[in-house]
C-alpha cells in the first residue's frame, strides 16, 4: 500500500516537473535551449551521396545583327550612271527600329563637257566612295505568298542618315534617305531592294550646288 502511494506520488511529481520544463520557455523563463543535436538521426538509414545536378541552360541564339552586300546602279549628278557595290551592317533594336552602317563604291563617268572637249578632264580620280550611318524603321511589315503552301515575311522600311562621300578629291558631308524592301527567304537570310538619294554639296563645275545622287541596289543579308 505504501509503495503504491509512493509510486503515485512519484508519477505526479514527474508530470509536474515535466510540465514546468515544457512551459518554462513559454513565459520567457529559463535559457533558450536548442534541442540537442542527435549525432545519428533515428530515421536516417542511408546517407544520400547524390549531389543536386546543376542545370546549365543552353544560350538562346540571338539574331539581331544583319550583315550583307549589295550591288546596283548609282547616278552621280553630271557624271552619268555607273555600277555601285558595297556592304552593310545593321542592328535591329526593336521590331520596328534598326540602325545601319553602309559603305559603298561607284565610279564617275565622263560629263558631257568632258566628252565634247575631247580629253580635258575635270579631275583624275574618278572613284566615288561613301559611308553612311542610318536609322531605319520597318513601316510596313508583312507576308508574301508563293503558291498555296509558302509564306515569306517581308518588311518595307524607310531609312535616313548621314555620312561622308569621297568624290573629286574631297570628303563631302552627305545626307541620304530612301526606302527599301526586305524579303526574308528564311529567318536568317534576306533579300533587299533599296532606293536611296545621296545629297552633298559640290563645286567642281563652277558654282557650288547641292546634288542628288540616286542609287538603286539589290542585296543579300544574313542575320546573326
Amino acid at each position: 500500500m505504501e509503495s503504491r502511494i509512493r509510486v503515485l506520488f512519484l508519477i505526479a511529481l514527474a508530470i509536474t516537473l515535466s510540465g514546468c520544463a515544457a512551459t518554462k520557455n513559454l513565459f520567457g523563463m529559463g535559457d533558450e535551449e536548442a534541442p540537442p543535436p542527435s549525432s545519428e538521426p533515428p530515421g536516417q538509414v542511408i546517407d544520400p551521396q547524390v549531389e543536386r545536378r546543376e542545370i546549365k541552360e543552353p544560350a538562346i541564339d540571338r539574331e539581331d545583327f544583319e550583315i550583307g552586300a549589295f550591288v546596283g546602279m548609282m547616278n552621280i549628278e553630271d557624271f552619268g550612271t555607273d555600277t555601285v557595290y558595297g556592304v552593310r551592317l545593321a542592328y535591329h533594336v526593336t521590331e520596328g527600329f534598326f540602325v545601319e552602317a553602309t559603305v559603298g563604291q561607284s565610279e564617275a563617268s565622263l560629263t558631257s563637257f568632258e566628252v565634247l572637249s575631247g580629253g580635258a578632264r575635270l579631275f583624275d580620280d574618278r572613284d566615288l566612295t561613301y559611308y553612311n550611318l542610318n536609322l531605319g524603321y520597318n513601316i510596313l511589315p508583312g507576308e508574301m505568298f508563293i503558291g498555296e503552301g509558302r509564306a515569306y515575311n517581308t518588311n518595307f522600311y524607310l531609312i535616313a542618315g548621314l555620312g561622308s562621300t569621297r568624290f573629286a578629291d574631297d570628303d563631302r558631308f552627305t545626307v541620304n534617305f530612301g526606302a527599301g524592301f526586305r524579303f526574308l527567304l528564311t529567318d536568317s537570310v534576306a533579300l533587299h531592294v533599296d532606293f536611296r538619294d545621296h545629297l552633298f554639296d559640290i563645286d567642281v563645275i563652277g558654282q557650288e550646288k547641292t546634288v542628288h545622287n540616286l542609287e538603286g541596289t539589290i542585296g543579300v543579308t544574313v542575320f546573326f
Binding site: V93, N138, V222
Partner: protein, 265 residues
C-alpha cells in the same frame, strides 16, 4: 516535369567568333545553303508553357497573325531570338514567333520561372560598355562621330572618340580620349561632364590653293545629357569647347554641338 528535366543537357556554347565564321561562310555560299547558319547538334533551350496557352505568330511583329497555340504544360524549344520576339518550336514540330511578354510566363524544366534578360534603367546605370554615333556642328563644319566607352564605376567612364569633320573650306579628322563624370547615373535624364585631349588633323579643300595639312593637339571640356530611351538604347546630346594648340602665335577655340544615339551592353 521529370520528363522535361531529363531533356536538358549541357549546352555546347557557341562563341561569338564561330557565329561570325558561320555568317561569313553562309554569306559566301548563300546560293547553295539558304538555311540557318547553325550546327545541327546545337541543343536548344526548353521551356514549359505555364499560361493557359502560348500564342504563335507567323512573324516577329505585333501585326503578324496568330496561327498556332500551345497548351499549358506542353514544352517548346527556343530556336532563336530577334529583338523582343522568340522563334519557338512546339513538340509537334510547329514553329512560330512568340513575344517577350508571353515568354516571361513560361517555366524552366525545373519548374522555376524563366528570366529573360531585358535591359532596364538599372542596366543603363550599371552597364560596362557603351558605343554610339553622334553628329552635329563643329565650329561651322559638319561633324560625324563614333565613340566607345568603358565604365570604371557608375559615375566615371573612359571614352575613345573618332570624328570626321567636313567643312566648307577644310576637312579633317579628330581622335580623342575623354573622361566622363556622371553625377546622377541612376536618373533617366543623366547629365554628365567631360574632359579630354586628342589630336586634330585638318586639310584644306582641294579647290582652295593656299594652306597645307596640319596636325595639332586639342584639349576640351564639355557637358551633356544621356537619356535612357528603351532596351539598350540611349540618346545623347552634348556640348564641347575645344582648344586647338596650334603652332601659330595664338590658340584656336572651337565650339561643338552634337546629338545622337548609343547602345550600352
Amino acid at each position: 516535369m521529370s520528363e522535361l528535366s531529363t531533356t536538358t543537357i549541357l549546352s555546347t556554347s557557341r562563341s561569338n567568333s564561330s557565329v561570325w565564321c558561320c555568317c561569313l561562310i553562309a554569306l559566301a555560299l548563300l546560293a547553295f545553303t539558304p538555311g540557318h547558319a547553325e550546327a545541327a547538334d546545337d541543343v536548344l533551350r526548353k521551356v514549359a508553357v505555364a499560361d493557359p496557352y502560348l500564342e504563335m505568330h507567323t512573324g516577329p511583329g505585333r501585326g503578324y497573325p496568330i496561327f498556332h497555340v500551345v497548351d499549358r504544360g506542353e514544352s517548346v524549344e527556343i530556336v532563336l531570338q530577334r529583338t523582343d520576339w522568340y522563334r519557338v518550336r512546339a513538340a509537334n514540330g510547329v514553329e512560330g514567333w512568340v513575344d517577350q511578354a508571353q515568354m516571361e510566363l513560361t517555366l524552366k524544366p525545373d519548374g522555376s520561372e524563366v528570366d529573360f534578360a531585358q535591359a532596364t534603367l538599372d542596366d543603363f546605370t550599371n552597364a560596362k560598355w557603351e558605343a554610339g554615333i553622334l553628329a552635329g556642328d563643329f565650329g561651322g563644319a559638319n561633324i560625324v562621330s563614333l565613340y566607345g566607352g568603358y565604365s570604371l564605376n557608375p559615375h566615371v567612364s573612359v571614352e575613345v572618340w573618332g570624328s570626321q569633320i567636313l567643312g566648307n573650306f577644310s576637312n579633317g579628322w579628330m581622335g580623342s580620349v575623354n573622361l566622363v563624370h556622371e553625377t546622377w547615373p541612376d536618373w533617366r535624364f543623366s547629365p554628365f561632364f567631360t574632359l579630354g585631349a586628342g589630336v586634330i588633323h585638318t586639310s584644306p579643300k582641294s579647290t582652295i590653293i593656299q594652306g597645307e595639312d596640319r596636325t595639332d593637339q586639342v584639349g576640351h571640356v564639355g557637358a551633356g545629357l544621356r537619356v535612357y530611351a528603351t532596351r539598350r538604347f540611349l540618346l545623347r546630346v552634348e556640348y564641347k569647347s575645344y582648344v586647338v594648340f596650334t603652332s601659330r602665335d595664338e590658340n584656336e577655340e572651337v565650339r561643338e554641338w552634337k546629338a545622337g544615339f548609343a547602345f550600352f551592353f
